[in-house]
C-alpha cells in the first residue's frame, strides 16, 4: 500500500468533470456573435427548412448519436416548418473544420437563411429541442 492521494485526486477531479458534463449535454447554446456561419443546401445536402434546419453531426464510435437521431427524426415529423439532416462527420471533415465541431453528436440549429443560431452537444432532451427550435427567429 502506497499513497491514496493520487486515487482520491483522480476520483474527485473526474466527479466534478462528470457532473458538469452531464449537466451541459444537450443544452442549447446560442452563438454569442450576431452572425454565425451560413450553410447552403449544397453543403448539407437538403433544402433548408421554412423556419429552422437541424443539422446533426455523428461519428462511428458514438452511442448517443443514434439516440439523438431517433429523437430528432421523430420530432421533426410534427414540425412542418423544421427540417432535419444527419451528417457523418468523418466524411465531411472540411465542413467539420469550418464549423469547429469537436465532439459528436453536435446538432446545429440554422435559421431560414441557413445561418447558425446556436448548437447543442450531446443528446438533447425533448424539451431542450423545443427550446432551441423556439429560439430560432
Amino acid at each position: 500500500m502506497k499513497s491514496l492521494l493520487p486515487l482520491l485526486a483522480v476520483l474527485a477531479a473526474a466527479s466534478v468533470f462528470g457532473i458538469w458534463f452531464r449537466r451541459t449535454r444537450g443544452e442549447f447554446r446560442r452563438r454569442k456573435t450576431v452572425d454565425g456561419p451560413r450553410l447552403t443546401p449544397d453543403q448539407i445536402g437538403i433544402a433548408l427548412g421554412e423556419r429552422v434546419t437541424m443539422v446533426q453531426f455523428s461519428s462511428a464510435f458514438c452511442s448517443p448519436c443514434r439516440a439523438t437521431r431517433v429523437l430528432l427524426e421523430q420530432m421533426v415529423q410534427t414540425m412542418p416548418d423544421v427540417e432535419y439532416v444527419h451528417i457523418d462527420a468523418e466524411s465531411h471533415l472540411e465542413l467539420v473544420r469550418q464549423l469547429n465541431i469537436l465532439s459528436t453528436p453536435t446538432t446545429l440549429f440554422l435559421n431560414r437563411d441557413g445561418t447558425e443560431v446556436g448548437r447543442a452537444m450531446g443528446t438533447p432532451k425533448r424539451s431542450q429541442v423545443l427550446t432551441a427550435v423556439a429560439a430560432v427567429q
Binding site: P6, V10, G18, R22, P64, L93, L102
Partner: protein
Amino acid sequence: MSSVTSVKTIEIDARGPRFSAVITTLVLALALVTESIWVIAFQAVVFAIGATKGPQFTPYAFIYRSLIKPRLKSPLRTEDVRPPKFAQLIGLAFALVAVVGAAIGTSVVFTVAVAFALAAAFLNAAFDFCLGCQVYLILVRIRKA
C-alpha cells in the same frame, strides 16, 4: 485502427460494457494505489482483448454474462459494439504507457498514465461517459490535418 473501423455492425447488450467499466475502475484504482506493474499488465491484457476481439469477449464480460445478467430485470438495451471497443483501445494505449513507465522505473509516467485510464473508466461507469464521442473526431482531425 483497422480492426475497429470495420463496416459490419455488431450489436451487444449495452449494460455489459457499463458493468465492465465498474470492474475496470476497481482494477485501475488498485494499480494506482499499489503501483504494481502486474496489476496494470493484467488490465492491459484485458484492454487488448476488448480492443481486438471486442468488449464482449473480456473476462469481465464473462463475469457479467454468467453472474450479473441472469439477475437483471431491466429491459435489454443493445448498442453498436464499436463505441465501447474504441474506448478499450484508448484504455490499452494508456495501460501500455503505464507498463513501459513502470518497467523503466519512471513512476511519474506510470502514475499519470494510470490516472488518465482510471478517470476515463470511472466516468464511463458513473456517468455513462462516451470516450469515442469526445476524442475520435479530434483524432481524425489531427491525423488528416
